[in-house]
Symmetry: C2
DNA sequence: TTATAAATAAAAACCTTTTTCATTTACGGA
DNA sequence: TCCGTAAATGAAAAAGGTTTTTATTTATAA
C-alpha cells in the first residue's frame, strides 16, 4: 500500500492540506466502507474546526480521482472505501458492519455456495448491473 | 405478460384501487426505468388529485411484493422497472435515456465486447456487488 | 516574502423521500 | 344492497442527507 499521500494529492492536482491528508490516512486504515458522516466524526477528533461539507467535497474529489471508490449500499446513501487492490475487482460488503472483502472473481451464481462455505458469510443478495450508453443515445453522448 | 392487475394486487393483499391499477398499467408499458416523480407526472394526467406520497408508497409496496424491481442508478435516487423476465436475471441500463435491456447472463467481463458488438451500446461501467452478512455479524442477525 | 488560486467553515439552501393526520375508499359480511 | 372497518389517500409538514453560497484562510509557486 502506497502511503505517500502528499504525492497522491499532487498527482490529482489537489493541494496537500492537513485535512486532505488526514482523510486519506483515516480511509486507508479502515477495513470497512464509511459515510462522509463517519469520516467527519473521526476528523473532529483531530481538528477543532472541520466542516461536514469539506469532508463531502474531499471524498468526492478523491473518488473522482480514483483514489477511493464509491460503494453502493441498499440504503442509497454515500459510502466510500479505500481499495487495496488496484486491478479490476469487486466487493463483498456486509450491510450490517460495513466490512468489505475484496474479490478477484467476477462471475457470481457459480461461486456463491463455495464463497459462503469458505468465508462463513451469508450472501443475502447480489447486484450485477451494467451501466452504459445505448445505441440511440450514442448519437451525441460519451 | 400477465395483465390481470386486479388479481396481482389481491395476491399481495392490497386493495385494488384505481390508482394502484393505473400505476401498474403505467409501469408495465415502459421500456425504461422510472422515478416516482415520473410516475406521478403520468398519474396527474389521469387523476385530478393524486399525491406524490401515494406514488412513493405504492411503488414501494409493489417492489416489496416483487411485482416491480428497484433499479440502482449512479445518482442514488429511487427508480423502478416492471421486469418482463421472471427468473433470475440482470439489466443493462442506459443512464441517459433510462432504457433497459433485460439480460439472461450473469458473468460480465467475458461478454462485454460481444454485448457491445451485438447491441451497439457502449458499456461505461458495471456493478457487481454481493450483499450479505459476514461471519462476525451472523451471530445475532439474519 | 508575496500574490494568487484553491480550500475551508459556517450557514443556509436544496431536494428527494417520509411522516403525520384527517378524510375517503374498498370490500367482506350482514 | 347497505354497513362497518381497516386500508388507502391528500395535503402539509418534517426529515435527513447532500450541496451551494460566501467570506475568510491557506498552500504553494514565483
Ligand atoms: Mn476494492
Ligand atoms: Mn428485469
Ligand atoms: Zn440510452
Ligand atoms: Zn458484518
Amino acid at each position: 500500500m502506497d502511503t505517500n499521500y502528499f504525492q497522491t494529492l499532487k498527482e490529482l492536482n489537489l493541494k496537500a492540506t492537513p485535512k486532505r491528508l488526514a482523510i486519506l490516512e483515516i480511509m486507508a486504515l479502515k477495513p470497512v466502507y464509511v459515510s462522509p458522516e463517519d469520516v467527519w466524526q473521526e476528523m473532529r477528533m483531530r481538528f477543532k474546526t472541520i466542516g461536514l461539507p469539506t469532508v463531502y467535497r474531499n471524498l468526492d474529489e478523491l473518488a473522482s480521482g480514483g483514489v477511493i471508490t464509491k460503494i453502493i449500499n441498499p440504503d442509497r446513501q454515500l459510502y466510500y472505501f479505500f481499495c487495496q487492490k488496484k486491478h479490476h475487482h469487486h466487493h463483498f460488503i456486509c450491510v450490517f458492519c460495513h466490512r468489505i472483502e475484496e474479490l478477484d472473481f467476477c462471475a457470481i451464481r457459480e461461486m456463491e455456495t463455495e464463497f459462503e462455505r469458505k468465508t462463513g458469510s451469508k450472501i443475502l443478495s447480489h447486484i450485477i448491473q451494467i451501466n452504459g450508453c445505448c445505441k440511440k443515445c450514442r448519437k451525441g453522448n460519451p
